[in-house]
């Protein structure tokens, strides 16, 4: 039996170690384009900030592959899959046979189609090499512009600010973290980051990136300009694009696997092609809150999907319980915040409970639908996130303690007793 995994991050690694735990004898191979030990993309900002070295962002011990007897095929790209022959074709021409295949190829930074996007010193932030390149470019830089005030953009902003750079974040929506946080929560977090000294331009998208002038290139000072929709120009030596990601579905396409945005899978993490599974940022699973199938590109879900896929690959049928598609924890400076599920409800059917204590930078918002918790935002005090998450995930009726939900001492105890 040969289990092949394409991808060496959360879903791939969690799948590999689970496979080995369940099946001590079969062969396991991991194919990865990057020639490096499994590292945590989520820790790239810490690497950028200089607070963690390359080794310190590994999320498994250095003997992980050896101890788990996993064959590593690193530095090779999986070009295509032949589902008939059950073979993966690598970019060096090698053909790798599999019995079960897991596609855990993750996602890539989306680069907006604007003029100048291919200028030097314009980077995404997805891979370790991006981070290395950014650091190299920053060594000679003073100003950084970050496009996108989502999670990655803000993490990068704080990291580089700590490296001593002048950082400006540009976001086309009128608030930061527009995906998950409402304006009030976003504003509290914004105040916190601004207090650090980072500048923000909100509500304006970018029109183009003007490449460095000839003189700039001659004096190896490749300062770019960022031109905003309204014509404002921002100068910067380094530009980071953090405007979202798209799933890496190319290799799946070659196998004739059904693709939406990502690869839709069933409860057993199976694609529509036999023996091929998908997990992680590339997979589309059912969101437990909305019931919709879609991408859930966050670490905990990727891990759980990888783990579930492994069970099914070894023949222990196990259904993916379903996760909350949208959930994230952030802490850029002093104020931790977590958002989950339908955190910005639209419609009269939803009931919103909230409390806001500006003096403590604390905000709590719970969204209910038909006596069930479907979403929440916690800012400042996040200790109850897990219990609210469990209520959301389990679709538990909260009518029994509706009036107690907002209390700061609401705990698992209310469910257990």
């Amino acid at each position: 039996m040969h289990h092949v995994i394409i991808g060496n991050s959360a879903a791939g690694i969690r799948a590999a170690e689970t496979l080995r735990y369940l099946d001590p004898v079969s062969d396991i191979s991991i194919i990865s384009e990057e020639d490096i030990h499994a590292y945590s993309r989520c820790l790239l900002p810490d690497f950028l900030a200089g607070s963690r070295s390359e080794r310190e962002i590994y999320f498994r011990p250095e003997d992980f592959y050896a101890r788990n007897r996993i064959q590593t095929i690193f530095g090779s790209k999986a070009e295509s899959i032949d589902p008939e022959q059950r073979r993966v074709l690598l970019d060096d021409g090698t053909r790798l046979s599999y019995d079960k295949l897991l596609i855990a190829t993750g996602a890539s930074s989306t680069l907006p189609p604007i003029p100048g996007i291919d200028s030097p010193n314009v980077f995404g932030l997805r891979h370790l090499r991006d981070a290395r390149n950014i650091l190299k470019a920053c060594a000679k830089a003073r100003r950084v512009v970050i496009i996108g005030a989502g999670f990655v953009g803000l993490e990068a902003a704080t990291a580089l600010y700590r490296q001593g750079l002048e950082v400006t974040v540009v976001e086309k929506m009128p608030q930061i973290l527009p995906q998950q946080f409402d304006t009030l929560a976003a504003d509290i977090i914004l105040q916190d980051i601004q207090a650090e000294g980072i500048r923000f331009v909100l509500g304006r998208g970018i029109k183009e990136i003007s490449p460095p002038s000839v003189w700039g290139r001659i004096f190896s000072n490749p300062g770019c300009g960022v031109v905003l929709e309204d014509g404002t120009r921002l100068k910067a030596e380094v530009i980071i694009i953090a405007a979202g990601t798209r799933p890496n579905v190319e290799v799946a396409l070659s196998a004739g696997i059904k693709i939406n945005r990502g690869i839709p899978v069933n409860d057993f993490m199976e694609t529509n092609v036999p023996h091929i599974y998908a997990a992680g940022d590339v997979a589309e699973t059912k969101d437990v809150v909305t019931g919709q199938t879609g991408l859930t590109p966050i670490w905990p879900n990727a891990s759980a999907q990888g783990r579930t896929a492994a069970y099914n690959m070894v023949g222990h049928p196990k259904a993916y319980g379903g996760m909350i598609g949208l959930q994230n924890a952030v802490e850029f400076r002093d104020v931790p915040a977590i958002a989950m599920g339908i955190s910005r409800p639209a419609g009269a059917d939803y009931q919103v409970l909230s409390s806001y204590h500006p003096e403590k930078n604390r905000y709590k918002k719970l969204v209910l639908l038909n006596d069930r918790l479907v979403g929440m935002i916690l800012v400042g005090d996040i200790h109850q996130a897990g219990i609210y998450g469990a209520l959301i995930k389990n679709k538990a009726s909260v009518s029994r303690f509706n009036d107690l939900l907002l209390r700061d001492d609401f705990s698992y105890g209310y469910l257990a007793t």
């Binding site: 989520c42 670490w299 200790h383 897990g386 105890g413």
Partner: protein
């Protein structure tokens, strides 16, 4: 595998377990020193409608906190079953994903604000400190099956006798 089991009815909210927990995780293993050093407790006793309810990590079979950990710090030891983010090669960064993931609210922020804090079942101590300290026997360190059987017997008796 032994687990810390809670008999909520027996808990009277004295918080001795939280003190014992702090002490067991302090340098000197004494309550007084732990309080002086502000060593935090890893278990909580929460009020629920006037009743004290101890809440602690169950060291789950498939821990959501381990899935959530993007640093690889939170791990479940395959031999002891202990789930902890301490003592591993990978260090906790305090991203709070585990806090978000734990359905029992058993993971908290360390007061240092930098790392997550949770029960490590006193790492190899024969009986966890909280269990040892409980004056009411509300906490017990037993095989899960044993506890469940006892509970079931108790429930049966109370149903039969109508008490």
């Amino acid at each position: 595998m032994k687990q810390i089991m809670v008999d909520v009815e027996r808990c009277n909210g004295c918080l001795t377990c939280t003190l014992a927990c702090s002490a067991a995780h302090s340098l000197t293993d004494t309550i007084v020193a732990a309080m002086a050093a502000k060593t935090p407790a890893r278990i909580q006793v929460m009020p629920v409608k006037g009743k004290a309810v101890p809440l602690m990590c169950r060291h789950c079979e498939e821990p959501a906190c381990v899935d959530a950990c993007m640093a690889g710090a939170m791990q479940k030891d395959p031999v002891t079953g202990i789930v902890t983010n301490e003592g591993n090669e990978q260090a906790c960064v305090g991203c709070w994903m585990c806090i978000m993931a734990c359905p029992y609210g058993a993971v908290t922020q360390h007061p240092n604000g930098k790392t997550a804090l949770k029960c490590d079942r006193c790492r190899g101590r024969e009986t966890p400190a909280c269990v040892e300290s409980c004056p009411n026997n509300a906490l017990r360190f037993v095989e899960v099956g044993e506890f469940a059987a006892e509970k079931a017997a108790k429930t049966a008796v109370s149903q039969l006798t109508g008490t």
